[in-house]
Structure formats: structure tokens, C-alpha cells
Amino acid sequence: MTELVTLSIDGKQVTVPKGTLVVDAAKQAGIDIPVFCYHPKMEPAGMCRMCLVELGRPMIDRATGQPVLENGQPKIQWAPKLETACTNVVSDGMVVLTRSEKARAGQQEILEFLLTSHPLDCPVCDKGGECPLQNLTLDYGPGKSRFLYNEKHHAEKHVPLGELIWLDRERCIQCGRCVRFQRLVAGEPVLAFDERGRDTEIITNSEPAFDSIFSGNTTDICPVGALTTADFRFGARPWELKSAASLCAQCPVGCNITFNTRREAKSGGRVVIKRVMPRQNEEVNEIWICDKGRFAYHFTESEARLRQPLIRRNGQLQPASWEEALDLAAAKLKAAGKDALILAGGRLSNEDLFNLKKLADGLGAQSVLYTHVGGGDLVTQIGLASGTNLADLGKGDTILVAACDLYEEAPIWWLRVKQAADRGATLIVVNARATRLDKHAGYVVRYAPGDETVTLQGLLKQDKIGAAIREAGNLLVFYAADGLDLNGSTSVAAACANLLIETGHFGRPNNGLIGVWPHANDQGAWEIGFRPEADLAAALKGKTVYIAAADPAGDDPRLAKALQDAGTVIVQELFQTATASLAEVVLPAAAYTEREGTFTSGERRVQRYYPAVPRWAETKADYVITAEIGQRLGLDLEAGAPALVFNRLTAEITAFAGLSYRKLAEVRPQWPIVGRADLYYGGTTYENKQGLGVHLAAAASAGESPHLPEVRKGSGPRPQEDALLAVPVTKLYDLGVTVRSSVLLEARIGLPAITIHPLTAEKMGLKAGEKAMIGLGGHENEVLVKLDETIPAGVALVPRSMGLPVSAPAPLSVGKAK
């Protein structure tokens, strides 16, 4: 039971837990105390002095330790000056006056000071309309200033902090929220104060500038228009934008976002997305999103998107009508029957995948998930259950991250795991190479490539690590495929699952296995019954393949060859990918921003997303296309509203039982309070009024006991004596279909590069930053060379989705560039 404290704020009796700050206590009681530098997600600084209030505490007689009474009431001793509400903790009997004459004068004077140097930029400032300084000046300001304005401080106005964020030094009020966010929340102190006094300014000195994937969040919490995004610069005024609740589709965290849209002349009168803002969901992403989610939405509006169905006639893909395309696709699939194969990517929604599965089942065909991370069947058994919230983890809990670069693969999970470690949780990172999580880890375990499974199996035998795992109050295990292929990650998943099952950490909240999938809805695919195919090339041979939201030909030349050797290829896609270029029928799909649906996050939480913009050209939603093909085959597939498809899904798939669109749209009050009236307090994050999502039940928590999966014996591929072993790793900013359309991220995507050990480089006569030619998978590519002394010698890290054909560890030859 938390100890409670009662105090009086503006005459109102307020009871809050001990340790609450006065400003938070007031907010909980519905009383607004204006703040600039304070943010509820960070430790207070007391820098801006905007929250000055009159504080009185009951006088205690030093001799007796009893309160001094006056007329039967405790005598209140008022502090001689105003005190900041953000740095003062509540105490019993405290009296706070926020609107007394003295407090009001203090608030007015602080605003008067701040406005002496703040430029008259409101008409040209992007923050206008959602600006805490504007709002608080109107509510608490003096109305007139006693200062002369001739001596306003002038500073640089349009300073780029990297390509993504602009800094306006004149508007900065030196509150330090951005500096503190980077240091305390993001753990990447790449912003700092330079100079002192009136010359204090924000600088960044990293390479590239503002080297943090959470940089966009500083523009949300900046109380003025000093930090703004280059993406939204002069886009529109906040009151001109419409909001649509949605989800980020880039990684399995499933951050809640809001798309702000507007009908524009610049885009020919179309309704377009102007920006992505975070939407509060304290259990998933709190009030943050990473830069990939914030800036990589442009693929939905790219001019390169498919506009109409295509059919191959005389060797060329030519425009066709929907009737023709669907008829042809259905005919081909009907003829193939059991020899059809449905290949789906994790970018599709639950509804799309459900219809595809029903189609596959109706045909008797295989339903294959296109992924390089295996083990999802284990996650469905012992994944996370309802009541899970990473924010609850702390001292006594253990988090294990195996074969995964969480920073690049699921940034917000990296952030929350780091925060859990800061709160005292034991973090164990098991990887063949150094990653950005190591700094925050209690234990770092390295293994030689090939020994990943054996190392994980041996963890329980180790002294401290074994104890941390066995005796953990809660145990969470994240795994992926860092340096591994599908088989490798499946093996890792099995080893991790064994750890959880053997130590009894499953079937309750905050315990279980989490697959860090490459896409937003791989978890949904696993739950619905899709399974990856270890030898996809062999599986495709001679089949009629229906591919949706996957580009195997673009990723792997061997799969391109396999598709060429396959029977018919039907592709349902957003863009004319390499795979689509091999197809006989190309069906243009609608982007997820143009329709509603649901994703299942890696934590097994089902969340809804809503349409933001109208349908592009003649595209149809993925599930509609599948349903119309299915109907031509005599199958009863739902082509109506996604809610109807979801209802069928919940009726058939046990894990989803009891869910509905209405349940997914339920909301609860969350802390901190954000929302347009409270944006000075929590930032410009949008309030979540459209749904917090619902967790799936884990099979284990339903009483079923999971069977211990068999772990593959032996080791994975090892580096050979005289050859380099290329191992695939994931990069946050890559040339994937959903990222490369964002021009702003071009510099961060960079050129394809391999990372080798400095000794290896020396042997080959290569230097960092030089160009080299590599031979991989029978293809030659030009790459940049990067050095890292923490990776094992004999290994070369090759990023996925950068145009280099790496899908599994394979031998690599390196030579100087031509």
C-alpha cells in the first residue's frame, strides 16, 4: 500500500501518494500549474521558474515535534519567497496557493522575462497554434510588458541539427527539456547547452548531427518553436489539420500514432498526410515514437505506387481491369489447387492474413509467411499475456535479449528495456557483437558465430546469470535473427523458450517470449497459422504462387530464380517491386493508411488503425482482393467491412476469442494527461480517444502447459579459416519498400556498407570509408567498408534490405573496388 499524503491546493483537499511532486498533485486534482521546463516523464530541473507558487507548511515545534496550533488549526509557515511546484514534494498539511496575488505576479513576471527575448515569430513559426508559450501567455501573462524591445537578443534562426530537425536559437527559452530528454529518457546525450548566461544555446556535436533515433520527440516536448521537424516545415497550421488514429507499420512494437492530414493544392487537391504525431498509449509506446515511424510514412503517397491491375500479355505487363485480373488470378489458382502456394509478408493486417489463410485452406494450398525470424509458434504459446506493461518491470525482474539488436529493430522496446534496466531490472544481452544495449546491460554474454544456441542453453548453469534468470520476479526474453537465418533464429527461439518454461516464467503478465519480428504484423500471421518455409526456393518450384506484401525476388537472387521457375506468379503489392516484375498478374493494393484494420504487435496486443486518406487510384484493400478471388473459387470470404472479417477471425481463432472492434476501441484515462488543453504539460502528443488495444490470451495462461520444444543440436555456420562469413544484420534505416520513399532519410539510409574487424581490413588492405567489391551469393556488389573492433574476426556484418543478397550466413569475398 503506498503511503498517502493530504495537502490543500487552492483550498481543495488533495490526497496523493507520498513522493508526488506538487505540480503533479495539482494536475491530478484538476488544477493547472503552468510549467515549461518540467515534464512528467523526466526528473524536474526547476530551471524556468514558471511553476512558482506560494507554499506553506505546518509549523512544527522543534522541542515537542508537534504542530504549532493557532485557533485549533496548524499554524502555516509560508516560505519567504515563491517556490517551484515542480521540485517540491508534497507533505502532509502543506498549503499551496497557485492563484494568489503573489503567485500570479510571479507567473506574469516570468512570462514577461521570457518574452523580452522571444522573437515575434508566431506568424511564421510552425508551433503556432499548439504552442505552450502562446497558451500560457494568454492564460497567465501580464498583457503588457515594462521592457524596451529594442535590445532583443539575436541568434541564428535556421540551424540544422542533422537533416531531420531544425533549431531556432532565438526562440529557445533554455528550458532544457530536449537536453534532459536525450540524456535521461533516450540515453543518448547528443544535445547540450553551450555558453552561459544570455548566450546559452543548444548544440549537437555528434556525427551525424543529432545522432539519435528519438530526435523527433524533442520537437513534441519543446515548449516553443525552437525545435521543429524538417519534414513538417511550413506544412500547415495545426488547426487546419484533421487527425486520424493509426499505428506505425514499421516494426513489431506497434506504436500508436496520429496522422494529421489536409487537402492541399501542392498535391493536386488530394488529401495527404502532413505529419505523424505520437498518440498516447502508456502500455505500448508511452508518448514517444522513433524517427523511422515519424518520418517514413511517405511510401503511402509515393507517385511510384501501383494504380491499376496489370496482366502480362505478350511478355509485357499491361493495364487491365479488375474483372480481368481477378478472373485470371482465380482461374490460375483454381487450376493449381493443392499446387498453389500463398506467400504473405508481415506488413498485412490481421484481416488480410485471415482471408489469405482461408483462401489457402480452401484450395488445400500451403500458407507461407515470408520472414527471416522463426519461432513464432512458440511465441503464440508462451508469449506475453494481458496485463503486461514493460513500465512495471524493475528491481528483481530480468530481461534477456538474445541475438537481437533492439536499437535497430524495435527502437521503442529498446527505450523501454533501457528504462527498466535504469529502474533496477537485470538486463542480460546475449549477442555475437556489441550493440547499443550493452551499455545498459548488467551482463553481456558474447558467443562465437554458430554457438548461439549452445550459449543460451548454458546460461542457467552460469552462476550469477543463472540465478538472475531463475529467481527473477518476472522474466522477459526478446529474440530475433541478428547474424542468423531462419533456422538459426528458430533454434534460438527454442532455446529461449526452454529457459522460460524450465524456470516457470510463462502464463502470467510480464513474463514470456517476444519475437522481434521484421514487420508490424508478423505476430498476427503466426497466430492465424502462417508458417515460414526454411527452403523457400524449393517450395516455390512449379507452384502457382500468390504473393502479398513480400518481395522475395528483390531480396534474394535465388528466390528470383525460383519464382521464374515457378508456375504462375500473382503479386498483390503497393509498388512495382522486383517480384511484381516477374508476375503474370499484378494486383494493386491499398496502403494501410487508406483503410481500417488491425495489427497484432510483438507483445501480442491487437490494436486498431483507422483510415487517414482516401483510396489511391484504383487500388483495393488487400483483404477485399483476396475475398473477391476467393468468391470466384466458390469460397465464402468476407469482402465487406474489416470489422466483419475480424468477427469471423475471432470466431475461428481461439487466441482472438472475445475480441471485437468495439473492444479494441475502448480507452482508459492515462497519466500523464496530454491533450490539446494540456500540451504545455506533456507535449504535443495526441490524446488517445480511439482505442488502447487488447492483449491476446497466451495459450499457456489458459491452463495449457507448453511442451518443451526440441532444440537443434550442434552449431550454426561458423567462419572458415581463410574466408569471411557474411552474417545478416538489421539496420533501422534501410532500402525497404516502406522506408526508401522518404527523401529526408536518404542520408541516414546511406550507401550499402559491410562492417569488418580492423585486423581483417588490414589484411585486405582496406580502410574505413573506402569502397570495396564483395562477392556474395554469386553476385558482385560495391559497398562501403566500416570497421568495428567488437565483432568477431572472420565475420562480416552485411545489412539486410540494402540491395545486398544476404538472407543467411554465407561465405563472402572482399576485394578493392574497381
Partner: protein
């Protein structure tokens, strides 16, 4: 006697009529050959003003659109560079449209404008034959380049036109 009185009244009335017809000057303004000058502060058709050097005063801030009670104004802003400068400062209106059918000529946009760019001028002779024609784009609203000024976009030296909102000489003005 009774015959003369009504005739006398009639004659008096007629006299007034005849006096008006042949005597007094007519007050009818022979519009459109003659036009009565408008009063000061008359609110007519909008004009987007320029500075004397030809740069547009409008900085695309959309405060006029926000103030408009009839939602008649649509503004889209874009970035200025010294290579192609439309207005002083960083920001200018790349799209500026007023729907004359929605506009109630209240002048709130003129009051809201921080740079005195949009003003309601004297022209009241507006006609259009379709709803689309009633949407006046920026080309119709922007005033011609004053003598001595350059047309926009201009190429300007860096560091000169850095202020979007001009300095207020007299805050009461």
C-alpha cells in the same frame, strides 16, 4: 369656390413636380459612366500588398484564414530562399485563395494580418459566372509590382531580408 381649392392644391403639387423635373439637378448617378467614389475604410475586393521593392508582404502565416468567420481563405505556405525570394523572411504563401462567395467582407482578415499584407480595397465590381470562378487565386489578388520594384520571385543577397514581420514603428497604428 369649391372648384378652385382642389385645383389650387393640384397646381401646388404639380409645381413641385415640375420644379423637380426642370429646376433641380438630378441626384441619380449615371453608373457605370459615373462612379461615386467610395468612402475611406470601404471594404471591397481583397488585395495582397507588396513592399516598395516588389517583395510580397504576405508571409503565408494563415492568420487571416484562421480569423475568417466564413472560412473563405485557403493558405499554403512554402519556404523562401535567397535564390527565389517571394517575401522577406523564411516563409511565403505559395497558395492563397479566397472564395468570394463565402466572404462576407467583414475585414477580420485585414485586422489579423501581422504584416498588413491583405487589405480590403475599393473594388466592389465583382462578377463571376460559376462557383469555381468565384475562388480568386493569388495571381488575381496580388497587386502589380510598384514602380521601382522587381517582380517576384527575386534573387536577393543573403542576410538582408531576414525578418518576416516588419518592425512596428507605432504600436497604436
Amino acid at each position: 369656390m369649391r372648384v378652385v381649392e382642389p385645383v389650387v392644391e393640384l397646381a401646388r403639387g404639380l409645381a413641385t413636380t415640375l420644379r423637380m423635373i426642370f429646376g433641380e439637378k438630378p441626384v441619380t448617378v449615371q453608373y457605370p459612366e459615373e462612379k461615386r467614389p467610395v468612402r475611406p475604410r470601404f471594404r471591397g475586393r481583397h488585395v495582397l500588398k507588396r513592399y516598395d521593392n516588389g517583395l510580397e508582404k504576405c508571409i503565408g502565416c494563415a492568420l487571416c484564414a484562421a480569423a475568417c468567420p466564413a472560412d473563405a481563405i485557403f493558405v499554403e505556405a512554402s519556404e523562401n530562399t535567397d535564390e527565389a525570394r517571394y517575401s522577406p523572411g523564411d516563409r511565403y504563401a505559395s497558395t492563397y485563395e479566397i472564395n468570394m462567395l463565402r466572404c462576407i467582407f467583414c475585414g477580420f482578415c485585414e485586422d489579423a494580418c501581422p504584416t498588413e499584407a491583405i487589405v480590403l480595397g475599393d473594388n466592389y465590381e465583382l462578377s463571376f459566372t460559376s462557383r469555381r470562378e468565384a475562388i480568386y487565386p493569388k495571381e488575381m489578388l496580388i497587386e502589380p509590382v510598384p514602380p521601382g520594384g522587381q517582380p517576384t520571385p527575386q534573387k536577393t543577397p543573403p542576410g538582408v531580408f531576414t525578418r518576416s514581420v516588419p518592425e512596428m514603428k507605432d504600436s497604436q497604428d
